[in-house]
């Protein structure tokens, strides 16, 4: 019996393959390829934290379960319920510029890219279905249900002349198809897809640019054009169109303008009789507009005010607001079902909003709104990357899970989103003493002479698990603070902070016990003020043991004893202002490194007080590794940025990688690893204990990886391949699909029945009675079985013989534990030894037997229930 079982398992036909998942799409990497890559260990620069999510409008899936957005060369599929990225669709070789659901199959997605291709995806499984090669740069994509072509924006001749053309997508079974059949629709349009809208199920297309609105009617093949007054008088100066949206049902076009007005155009099929009404709430330009999909009764608008406005019934007085969305609304999209909205914001986030204007989920990438001035830091407590986030906030970004943890509100003032307002900015921050202290500097400068500075010192309160303000210092210096540095030595008994400023002083702040008798309190006080010949203090750095403090005053480096604050010695190279300063670590602690603006890297020996070596390198970043002697330096040249990893004691760099990025690298940081790596190759040993991250000018966070691209970039394709099987609900039967599908799809039907009938068989008392009767009293199993099968056949009323084995096997499982030489029916589950259910039983029933069985239908088998 056992042997048989194993055979049957081998022969068992797989009735349902997990569709697509086993297909060898480009996303699944073969394991051997991975292994090879690991062995080679070539170091690549990889992106962390993702690209921007707010480049184009997000697109919802038909059931609103997923939302798609373009992100660099990829398309990301997020779950609207959990904010998690479900898939990353990759295959484009350049920036993805537009996505749209396939109107004829809502499980598919079209995308277009600068690489000149349109791709069709199965987004549920994350598989590329087809590639249409168009050939020229595609700037946006639109798809309509009624036609078998899509519309794209291209610029063929001149760099700033854009055209809307339709591309006929040829039907073919091959993976890559050339789609060269372009037909011209509109010329001289705006590049942004926000300025094109298709209305009333594709009857017309509206495009706006500068001061005119043009509407092209597909049936009439005519274009009507409406121009707003753009005269030089002040009243109409800001009449420019910014975006357009079309009503889904009616002939109505909404346009947004630079002065904050929204115009609703009607009767535009006649160039004379057209009318428009104005809605005005926004005080700054309208960034995007969207009509609610189902009935089109409400219009959504958003702009720099970061308030989502819903205009009900297109009336000025019926407004609903969702304020405080945090940053400028760049795009608004509405799900096809109409239950969700999605707004994309300038700070690289998307907010999923319910129909009743309640934000339900935030998909947040690395905040990219503003300039990063604090640099990159590591919070020693959470190991999170810390940098400027939302205005006035510090963002904590988890590198392990690659997502933002939270924003810490440092300034705690309401941010007013308005152009040209001078805001308080968070300029410096530093962590000290294993994350117990956080120092932040904020400044606001309206005019040359009016500088407002504030330094805040926060302590981490373990009881409440959060930062608490300890000391606030108004105007800690009379001019800009240039650097901030904690003394992080192991043995330092009290925390020390040094600030340097352009006013020529550096201040040493220490934590003192300034308690009066009533409350035990500690606070920071200034301990020492140092200066050097009225030069501006530009940088400061503590040595590893905290005994020395190096402060650079423009071209001169001064070394101070941290015990007595005496000036020990000065170094001067006359090679330009010092831009970076750092001490060597561990065995190299006798070295001090300084990089100057003139592109010279100097290394001084602190014992001999002499210059050890210098090199000509235009340094942008100089970062010591906290776990080793290594120092990473990134230099900027005309072609790109180069990375050098070296030890101060050795003349030769450990590792050089040219061209790590085409743009300027602004900040870098070493992040200690939780689990040390074991790269055997000497060149990569510097990555063993820490990982190096750097941030470029366009605020993309990059790091180094030895993994193959497939391994790094496809998280979800390597998930457990578990099939989605959910039992059918009673509603399913009520809706009657069950009967209809019966003829069409027998395989599936059998499967469902099996699932549904399982509880039924267990609950009928007659059957349980039958099962509990001792075996020797019952007639032989084979006899009972055949009758039982027949009864089942009758109840079906069809000739589908396929279910027989399934149902019977359930019966058999309990009944015939001890029945030996087996009838033809196998068990689904057996004791101890597993045998899978063989479905090939069917074939063993001869045709004559089948006929006989059909006869049995007419016989009354009600006796079985009476048993």
């Amino acid at each position: 019996m056992r042997g048989w079982g194993s055979v049957s398992r081998g022969k068992r036909p797989i009735n349902r393959l997990p569709s697509g998942k086993l297909g060898a799409g480009p996303v699944t990497a073969s394991p051997c390829a991975c292994a090879k890559m690991v062995e080679e260990e070539s170091l690549r620069v990889v992106r962390c934290g993702g690209s921007e999510l707010n480049f184009r409008r997000a697109v919802f899936s038909a059931d609103s379960k997923y939302v798609f957005c373009v992100s660099g060369d990829f398309i990301k599929v997020y779950s609207t319920a959990t904010e998690e990225c479900v898939h990353i669709l990759q295959g484009h070789r350049n920036l993805v510029t537009g996505i749209q659901l396939n109107p004829r199959n809502h499980l598919q997605l079209y995308s277009c890219s600068f690489d000149g291709t349109i791709k069709l995806w199965d987004y549920i499984d994350g598989i590329l279905i087809k590639t249409f090669i168009v050939g020229c740069k595609l700037h946006a994509l639109f798809a309509l249900a009624c036609e078998d072509s899509v519309f794209v924006i291209i610029n063929k001749e001149k760099p700033d002349v854009f055209q809307l053309v339709s591309v006929k997508l040829p039907k073919s079974s091959s993976q890559e198809i050339e789609a060269k059949e372009l037909s011209f629709v509109l010329d001289y349009i705006n590049q942004s897809p926000k300025c094109i809208a298709f209305g009333n199920e594709g009857e017309y297309v509206a495009a706006v640019r500068d001061f005119y609105l043009s509407v092209y009617f597909f049936k009439k093949k005519t274009t009507s054009r409406f121009t707003l007054s753009s005269s030089r008088n002040k009243k109409h100066a800001k009449n420019n169109f910014t975006c357009v949206a079309c009503h889904p049902k009616e002939d109505c076009i909404a346009t947004g303008h630079r002065d904050g007005k929204i115009r609703l155009w009607r009767n535009f099929d006649d160039e004379k009789k057209y009318t428009y009404t104005c809605l005005h709430w926004h005080h700054d330009l309208v960034m995007d507009l969207a009509f609610s999909v189902t009935e089109g009764s409400s219009l959504l608008s958003g702009g720099r005010e970061s308030v989502l406005v819903e205009w009900r019934e297109a009336a000025e007085k019926n407004k609903e607001f969702l304020p405080r969305l945090g940053a400028t609304i760049e795009h608004i999209s509405v799900s096809p079902a109409g239950d969700l909205f999605c707004t994309s914001h300038s700070d690289n986030k998307m907010i999923i909003i319910h129909r009743n204007l309640e934000a339900s989920a935030v998909i947040q990438g690395l905040v990219k709104d503003r300039n990063i001035v604090t640099g990159l830091m590591i919070d020693p407590r959470t190991k999170a990357l810390v940098l400027n986030g939302k205005p006035g906030h510090l963002q904590f970004y988890s590198l392990q899970s690659d997502k933002q943890l939270y924003n810490l509100d440092i300034i705690q003032q309401e941010y007013i989103n308005d152009y040209g307002l001078i805001q308080i900015e968070l300029t410096k921050a530093a962590f000290g003493c294993y994350g117990n202290w956080l120092a932040t500097v904020e400044q606001r400068q309206e005019k040359e002479t009016e500088l407002e500075l504030q330094m805040k010192l926060w302590t981490y309160n373990k009881k409440t698990q959060g930062f608490v303000l300890n000391t606030k210092v108004n105007m800690p210096h009379e001019d800009h603070i240039t650097a901030l540095c904690f003394c992080n030595a192991q043995k330092s008994e009290n925390p020390t902070l040094v600030t340097t400023s352009k006013d020529g002083h550096f201040k040493v702040w220490i934590l003192t016990d300034d308690s009066d008798i009533y409350k035990k309190a500690v606070g920071w006080t200034c301990d020492f003020v140092g200066s050097y010949h009225k030069y501006q203090a530009t940088n400061c750095c503590f040595s590893e043991d905290g005994s020395l403090l190096a402060v650079s005053f423009e071209e001169i480096v001064t070394i101070w004893d941290s015990e007595t604050w005496e000036l020990k010695c000065t170094f001067c190279q006359r090679a330009g202002k010092i831009r970076h300063l750092c001490f060597g670590r561990l065995t190299c602690s006798k070295y001090l490194l300084g990089a100057t603006e003139n592109g010279i890297l100097c290394c001084w020996n602190l014992l001999s007080c002499a210059l050890e070596w210098s090199a000509k390198l235009n340094m942008r970043v100089l970062e010591p590794d906290p776990n080793s002697e290594n120092i990473a330096a990134i230099s900027q040249s005309s072609t790109g940025s180069d990375l050098f990893v070296f030890r101060p004691s050795e003349p030769r760099p450990l590792y050089i990688q040219k061209n790590i990025s085409r743009e300027e690298v602004q900040w870098g940081v070493f992040v200690p690893r939780d689990v040390p790596e074991s790269f055997t190759s000497e060149a990569y040993q510097w990555l063993n204990r820490s990982q190096f991250y750097f941030l470029t000018k366009s605020q993309s966070l990059l790091t180094f990886s030895t993994q193959s691209p497939e391994e790094k970039l496809t998280p979800t394709s390597k998930q457990l391949l578990a099939e989605e099987t959910l039992p059918t609900t009673p509603f399913y039967f009520i809706l009657g699909k069950h009967r209809q599908q019966q003829q069409d799809d027998k395989l599936n039907e059998a499967l469902e029945d099996e699932l549904v009938q399982l509880p039924l068989t267990e609950n009928i008392p007659a059957i349980s009675e039958l099962l509990h009767t001792p075996a020797h009293v019952l007639p032989s199993a084979s006899f009972l079985c055949s009758m039982f099968v027949n009864s089942l056949l009758l109840s079906k009323g069809t000739k589908s013989a396929e279910e027989i084995p399934d149902d019977v096997s359930m019966e058999e499982e309990k009944e015939s534990v001890d029945s030996d030489e087996e009838n033809n029916f196998t068990e689904q589950v057996q004791d101890t030894n597993n045998t899978d259910l063989g479905k090939d039983i069917i074939h063993q029933l001869s045709k004559s037997e089948e006929k006989e069985l059909r006869k049995f239908r007419k016989v009354d088998y009600s006796w079985i229930t009476a048993l």
Binding site: R16, P18, C34, A35, V38, K65, A81, T82, V86, I351, A361, V362, Q364, T382, F396, S398, L399, D402, Q404, Y406, N407, K462, K463, T464, G466, F467, V468, L469, N470, T471, K472, V473, N474, M475, P476, V508, W524, T525, V529, R673, D674, V675, S705, Q707, E711, L713, P715, T716, K718, Q719, L720, L721, E724, T725, L755, V829, D831, T832, N833, N834
Partner: protein, 681 residues
Amino acid sequence: MAAGGGGVAEPFSPAGVPCAFSPQSQAYFALASTDGHLRVWETANNRLHQEYVPSAHLSGTCTCLAWAPARLQAKEGPQRKKRKSEAVGTSNQVDLLALGTAVGSILLYSTVKGELHSKLISGGHDNKVNCIQWHQDNGCLYSCSDDKHIVEWNTQTCKVKCKWKGDNSSVSSLCISPDGKMLLSAGRTIKLWVLETKEVYRHFTGHATPVSSLMFTTIRPPNESQPFDGITGLYFLSGAVHDRLLNVWQVRSENKEKNAVMSFTVTDEPVYIDLTLSENKEEPVKLAVVCRDGQVHLFEHILNGYCKKPLTSNCTIQIATPGKGKKSTPKPIPILAAGFCADKMSLLLVYGSWFQPTIERVALNSKEPHMCLVRDISICWAPKVETAVTKVRTPMMNSEAKVLVPGIPGHHAAIKPAPPQTEEIESKRKLGENEVSIEERLGALDIDTKKEKGNLPQTNSFPVLLTQGLESNDFEMLNKVLQTKNLNLIKRTVLRMPLHAVIPLLQELTKRLQGHPNSAVLMVQWLKCVLTIHASYLSTLPDLVPQLGTLYQLMESRVKTFQKLSHLHGKLILLITQVTASEKTKGPTCPAQKAKLVYEEESSEEESDDEIADKDSDDNWDEDEEEKGSEKDEDVDEEEEEEEEDAEEKGEENGEDRDVASEKELNGDSDLDPENESEEE
């Protein structure tokens, strides 16, 4: 690593709520509470990630849960390689969560999609599922139940692969061996099964009560003399309901030894267990056991053979609330779960209530045998809906924070005595002498006051009051004296005060100067008197510079903006005088006579013409101004100019009045005596 402890829930044990950390980086903590809700928390920022309520959550509550291994595709090569690639990639996203229910079904929930992925029921259990284990490699799922069976599921097809009877009683716990070829199950006895053949390989007996948790603690045997077959020599751990001992067993090659090798003792029944696998024989096994009484016990032990005595914990962690004031006593906060972080040096602690737990990362230093963490979780009670969506945290800014503004001591470095230590000692000695003498003098002063009480001359009692107030630091007494406005009185008081009280007085004055500007005005009078009268005494003091350093800094910072202020003041005076001047001319107008007396034909005509033009058209404004500019001084501001125009308009008929106004301007300027100013302020 953190897969265990899930299936603890017994009908009679309410504490064992199924919960688990997600594998690898412990980014999530899944918790199925007794109300049938499954909640997934983010460990890094303690935020509710998602909540899921199974449709049958009331009838079939969740009894155990297990995260699917976040694995890469089937992997060849040694263990080492695998670890490396996993650590680098942030890609090991975890997704599936298996939930066992009280009715015997198993749900697979996708945390990425936030919905039920599949439901395993057909041919499975018909009683409560006690434990679920994922196989790390082949995508199988093992579950055991009260129906005495163990089921092997194929998660790809969601079908039963195999079902066999695991024990004569209910099977309560499962564990898969590190190499994935063996399975431990615990019913009445602990059995080790060979997965391929489903045959029992070993029996272990020892626990009297149902075993609640099973875990392998090593992945390699301690002695590697014979070739390793994947199981022999490995240790595993078991904990049982109502048992304060955790037993460690070793799989021996000979079948004789059936008893536990050693045991760990804890204070209460273990609820959640996590450990770090030791990969070689030198590396100790670290074990964290959360007990029902809410404590965590940490063990660190190198497993190498038999040990008779139960081992006690190296470290115990407790959490308590801060006792606020005298009224409330600190209360313990139960720890619900604990998991080791990837670096094995820190522990993730979950504590508080099941509905709103707090997750914290605690660094371990094994030196202390007992750690009591004081945590205030009262803030955490209120669910933070707002932060859940915006992801903004607001750090506390309370009034207790120290504020340093320029001038307050501490904002700038205190001025220290320049000479080195020897002199400091001297000054200290001096201070000591002073104190003694003050005591003596106090006595003397008391007598003085008594004597003079009869007369009650105010001038005499003020110095006495002042010195007494300074000695005793009596706020009211000092207020009485220092708030006087009589300049003469101040002078006389300062004259008659004893010398030793000068420095304390100066310090008191400094303190008060830092306060409200209104009181500072008064203090400045005092300061002025003290400095003028006692200058000679002060100059004799050796430590004058540090003594008066703060005062100096204060004055320095206060007068820093003085220049700007005086500019402003000057301008304002200019305006005000002109306004008042124009108003004066408005009131008593008797210009007719004067106009007759002073007769200047040409000039008056010109002016009047100008003014008329000015009123008539705005267009000619520019020209007009130019003319004005030529007429008036160049260095006055626009505002002033306008004001002056107003003045002119009103006083146009009278040439002399204008002259008066300009004279007053001059006066206004000359009024700006800096010293006066400071006193006024």
